[in-house]
């Protein structure tokens, strides 16, 4: 295949991935890596590098809308970023050492879990009657805009949330995805933040986390300009389209279809990983 044709096909695929990723809130990364490796036969290390860069692009692109609305809790985000960035470094160093087939299998398993999470929509949390001691000491509580004016909230189990964030960072650095689903899980279910606050803060953290491992990927030669160019431009374009249709499209039906697609991709990834592992 010539570079012209390859670039255009990858660009079109990345637009679709970014579009679906924004609509479902899972991010483009979870589709990009399987698309590049399974459909285009790209080595998973190149795919992870390209995906990681596109994760930064979508996070920064979406953040400009989020920060203005006042849902992002910078204090919580910054504190948890200690866990996610250290995790991202660990993940990136692991990626340099683990065999490709093993990374493909781990990717497939994380994909299945993400599909499961996305098919269980979040419900609004009940108020916390006893905020976490550490959260009070770290002044983490805040206020967020609702239809009835500003509403204050307090924060639960910080140590558990911090630990899960470390795991989210490792997965992000190892697989080149934003692992937004796990970040929201930590803040939503464990720290029990209001849903809009956890979504906005998670988006803030995704870009910073990805930047922590992107530096290592760049230095180690995983970020190929010829491949990353169409991926990054496509995902960026697709996700801004997706964000625009977020409230008009039949998201529920799309979510279901997307979950099935992800499940199929995940099984393919695991199968190809096992096959390559055995042949080797």
């Amino acid at each position: 295949m010539s570079i012209w044709l390859f670039t255009i096909l990858i660009w079109l695929g990345s637009i679709l991935a970014g579009f679906l990723g924004a609509l479902t809130g899972l991010g483009g990364g979870v589709v990009i890596v399987p698309l590049l490796t399974l459909v285009f036969g790209v080595d998973i290390r190149y795919a992870i590098g390209a995906s990681l860069v596109s994760v930064i692009a979508t996070s920064s692109g979406a953040a400009s809308a989020y920060v203005k609305e006042g849902f992002t809790n910078i204090r919580i985000g910054m504190f948890l970023e200690i866990a996610t960035t250290v995790g991202a470094l660990v993940g990136a160093f692991l990626a340099l050492r683990l065999a490709s087939p093993l990374i493909a299998i781990i990717f497939g398993l994380v994909l299945i879990y993400s599909a499961y999470l996305s098919s269980h929509p979040n419900r609004e949390n009940a108020e916390i009657d006893k905020p976490d001691v550490l959260a009070v000491r770290l002044k983490m509580g805040g206020e967020y805009p609702t239809s009835q004016g500003l509403k204050s909230y307090s924060v639960g189990s910080v140590p558990a949330g911090f630990s899960l964030m470390f795991v989210a960072g490792i997965i992000s650095g190892l697989l080149g995805i934003g692992s937004g689903a796990i970040k929201v899980l930590a803040m939503d279910r464990l720290m029990r933040l209001p849903f809009k606050v956890s979504t906005a803060t998670s988006n803030f953290m995704i870009g910073v986390t990805a930047a922590a491992s992107a530096g290592i990927y760049l230095n180690k030669g995983y970020i190929d300009p010829g491949l990353t160019m169409p991926v990054m431009l496509g995902v960026l374009f697709g996700s801004s389209l997706g964000a625009r249709y977020l409230f008009s499209a039949e998201t529920k039906k799309l979510r279901l279809i997307f979950s099935i697609v992800i499940l199929v991709l995940a099984i393919e990834m695991i199968y190809s990983g096992m096959k390559a592992g055995i042949v080797k």
């Binding site: 570079i3 692009a57 910073v208």
Partner: protein, 127 residues
Amino acid sequence: MSKIEEERVNHKMGIVMGNLLKTGVIVAASIVLFGGIIYLFRHGLAQADYNTFQRVPYDLCNVRGILKSVFSFHGRGFIQLGLLLLIATPIARVLLSIFAFALKRDTLYLMITCVVFGILIYSLLNK
């Protein structure tokens, strides 16, 4: 600092951050597109090969090499410059938060933010 004053700083910071991120992404994407066009017109007819992993040439993997490549007007150098800028946008956001917490005299979070910033810089300069 009073609560109202703090709210004002927060609101202002939010707007500055939003604009910074938006501009960063648009500029980065434009440079990548520019480099991509040069690259495609020069190498577009060659065969694409990403099946086997070979490390990207060393000159496209670090700041100095990328700048050198840009000055020689290489398409791939421009793409990497745009990507480098993109990686820098969230880092700039953390740097801005350092100033914000310093302005609010919030020593605890100033320290936390400096730790995060240090980790990011370590990653970028790690050899």
